[in-house]
């Protein structure tokens, strides 16, 4: 195998290139050829004419030719790894309805004019890939997520019809939820938590990852969820748990129901009374407005945790309403902390990183029209002023007289009475706020816009409707509060949305603040202030949310030199103090109600409360005078 070995070295040394070649051959020996000649001084040099002596040597050929071991190509064995994807649920596509013209919602067909991966500017659109969750350890589990198509192409109106193109941050939210066993979607109100949850559930069902889902929400939001499911996942059959106990029992355990919709009260009652062995099992349980289980000892929280399930999701715009510890109850439901676990702030923050997804409008919705906040400080009418001063004076005297027997409810009662007077004088019905509202509504009616108004009291709302009907009949005032029967609520919202002559919807914070989509309203009035800025924000975000095309003007009525001014300042301070618990740019999580000490502090009653509480209210010289 080494032919160069047998070559005489002298022959090979003539050229440099040959030498270089041979020097690379392992068995080759290269020797320089030296020919020397001596020249004598006589000038006669016989050596020049003499031939160099060259010797030849005989090399015998190998007697027997040997071959290296034979080689035949053989097929290598290759190890493979593979798996099949579970069959997703197939649903019958919804039929086109003939009376489409009368439909309330105009559902646009998916845009197909451009290539799926191009935006209007012609740039390549970002694709949202599903990422395997952190806790997915097996290769098969991880590959399941890696091999799913990008959400944009999955939802591009081919296999799954989407009525509207989601925003990029919504795609991210859907992808995140899809891959999470435990997830708390805590996007700020108005960013489409409902749509993201519905789409993620839809993908779970369609990819065979879930077959039975339970969605629990507050009772007033049931119609809202039904409507949103119809809009975003028309093919999914939704079964609402309702009716008498026997029917509900049948519904809870009925097989072949992909999505069960129930309210918290029914869920707590039915599960509490059900033998444990009869409890239905779910692949996924979703809690909407999950702050409902913030108190981990409540029956609702306990029953929620007891539901047998594989995945747990929670939705809320206000994961912390009062104390960061409230998150612990949510984490317990998500099964990421042990029962009764009490994570400290650092642990909570780490858990939040893993299991909470929160985006704020400031961060993601640069294209949402601006929200213009306007605090309108109104002077009380003379009659209101008189009533207010009398009530406050009498009230404080009364409280002072009570000495140490004074309780929070006594102070609260006074606050409520004063707040009512700032809305309207109880004797004459005079109201500075109503006067201003009527003036502003006149302008809004003329411009053909719509407004929603929130108040704490249903009685105030009823009174407002009567007054506005007298003063401004063209306003087309509608009313929506807890006193309106549930069945009549949906038609009221529909009428407000559809009727061009209906310009104002009066709502209570309790009933109207959560979950409704009223983004066709450009004006929001807060007739009186709620105790908790988060609830106010919820109310405002009925209008200032995705789909809103115009700036939203938010008007808060604050009566000058009254309790309202003081409450506003305290709330503002609290909001500043607790801002950014969940991250930068978050200005809505400081949703902290007034505490007992703060309510005492409104009247500088801290010393008499005798509970070591500290007033954080503003030190207003006027207040000091009044208190004295």
């Amino acid at each position: 195998m080494s032919p160069a070995n047998d070559q005489p070295p002298a022959i090979a040394s003539d050229s440099d290139s040959t030498r270089a070649d041979l020097s690379q051959t392992p068995d080759c020996v290269s020797l320089p050829l030296e020919l020397t000649a001596q020249v004598f001084a006589s000038g006669m040099n016989g050596a020049l004419k003499r031939w160099s002596a060259v010797e030849a040597r005989e090399v015998p050929l190998a007697a027997k030719l040997t071959l290296s071991p034979g080689w035949k190509p053989h097929r290598m064995r290759i190890a493979t790894f593979g798996f099949t994807f579970p069959d997703g649920l197939e649903f019958i596509p919804p039929k086109e309805e003939a009376d489409d013209a009368e439909k309330l919602e105009r559902i646009l067909p998916p845009k197909q004019s451009k290539r799926a991966d191009e935006t209007d500017s012609g740039k390549k659109k970002k694709s949202t890939r599903l990422k395997p969750p952190e806790d997915a350890l097996s290769l098969e589990d991880r590959l399941f997520y890696v091999l799913q198509p990008p959400l944009e192409s999955w939802l591009a109106g081919q296999e799954l019809i989407m009525p509207f193109e989601p925003f990029p941050f919504q795609y991210e939210g859907i992808a995140w939820m899809f891959a999470q066993k435990s997830a708390l979607l805590a996007d700020e109100m108005g960013l489409g938590k409902t749509m993201q949850a519905i789409t993620a559930m839809r993908l779970l069902l369609r990819s065979g990852q879930a077959r039975r889902i339970l969605l629990i929400c507050p009772k007033p939001l049931i119609p809202n969820w039904q409507r949103e499911f119809k809009l975003w996942a028309e093919e999914l059959p939704i079964t609402t748990v309702e009716g008498d106990a026997a029917r509900r029992r049948m519904l809870w355990t009925m097989p072949g129901v992909p999505i069960l919709l129930a309210n918290y009260e029914l869920m707590a009652r039915d599960f509490d009374g059900m033998p444990e062995e009869d409890h239905p099992r779910f692949d996924l349980v979703v809690l909407d407005e999950a702050q409902r289980i913030k108190n981990r000892d409540s029956l609702t929280a306990q029953v929620s945790r007891g539901i047998i399930r594989r995945r747990s999701w929670a939705l809320t715009g206000t994961p912390i309403e009062n104390r960061p510890e409230e998150l612990a109850s949510l984490f317990e439901f998500l099964e990421v902390i042990p029962p009764r676990g009490t994570p400290d702030l650092r642990q909570l923050s780490r858990l939040a990183d893993d299991y909470i997804l929160r985006r704020t409008k400031d961060l993601v919705m640069s294209d949402l029209p601006p929200r213009l906040d306007r605090d309108e400080y109104l002077e009380l009418t003379p009659a209101q002023k008189h009533s207010y001063a009398t009530a406050e004076k009498e009230g404080i005297v009364q409280l002072n007289d009570m000495g140490d027997t004074i309780t929070i409810s006594h102070v609260f009662e006074l606050v409520l009475r004063l707040k009512q007077i700032t809305n309207a004088d109880p004797l004459t019905g005079e109201s500075a706020k109503l006067d201003r509202l009527a003036a502003e509504m006149e302008e809004i009616v003329q411009s053909g816009k719509k407004a929603i108004l929130f108040s704490q009291w249903t009685r105030t709302l009823d009174w407002l409707r009567d007054e506005l009907e007298k003063r401004l009949p063209q306003c087309g005032t509608l009313i929506y509060h807890g006193g309106v029967p549930t069945k009549k609520r949906e038609p009221i919202l529909t009428r407000f949305r559809e009727d061009p002559d209906s310009h104002l919807l009066l709502m209570s914070y309790g009933t109207g603040a959560v979950g409704l989509n009223l983004q066709f309203s450009s004006y929001v009035f807060l007739f009186d202030r709620w105790w908790n800025p988060a609830v106010e924000d919820q109310a405002i975000n009925r209008a200032h949310r995705i789909g809103q095309e115009n700036p939203v003007t938010v008007t808060k009525f604050i009566s000058k030199d009254t309790i309202e001014e003081r409450i506003d300042l305290v709330l503002q301070q609290k909001r500043d103090l607790f801002a950014a618990i969940l991250g930068d740019g978050d200005n809505t999580n400081a949703s902290l109600s007034l505490t007992a000490s703060e309510i005492f502090g409104l009247f500088d009653l801290k010393a008499r409360a005798g509970k070591g509480t500290k007033s954080i209210g503003p030190e207003d010289p006027a207040e000091e005078k009044q208190a004295a």
Partner: protein, 179 residues
Amino acid sequence: MSGEGTKGKLRLGFLTAFEVPQRGFVGGLLVTNHFGRPLEFQCTTPVQPNRTQQILYGPTLVPFIQSELIGKTLVDKVGVKPDLILTDSQQLLDLREHISIPVACLDDQVAGESSAEGGESASQISIGRHTLRFHGAHQSDEQEIEAKSRLIPDGADLLEPFERVREALNEATGTGAKR
């Protein structure tokens, strides 16, 4: 032979193979429905040719490993048989010589952008946004696929699933694929 797909359905196999430094050649086959939703995935553990194979196969080594060795093994192994196997490399086209399912290679260029340079016009068709090149010795594949390919949406990006396969192979080799 390749009519596994029932009427109105088209199963696409996305086959790719590449060399992972220090590990060897790996390949993956993702079978999807015509919308790109995954149905089955198969991949190989890394294949490392020895010195003798490297010397004797010479320049034919890579096509041999990728198509005959990896490609054929994966197609044999997969339970959900595709109606058409798409590849992202010309070298894998030779797989067609060893299996009975049509194989087509995706041209890099989007359909309609480079028809003048094609050269082998007889074995090219356009599907979705791409031009497919078939094996020269299996011209009938083209007609067989052309009718079914109408199921693929116009805007479909047929190159995208290869990204998924490559990512899955990276994930599998990174974590150590096991039998």
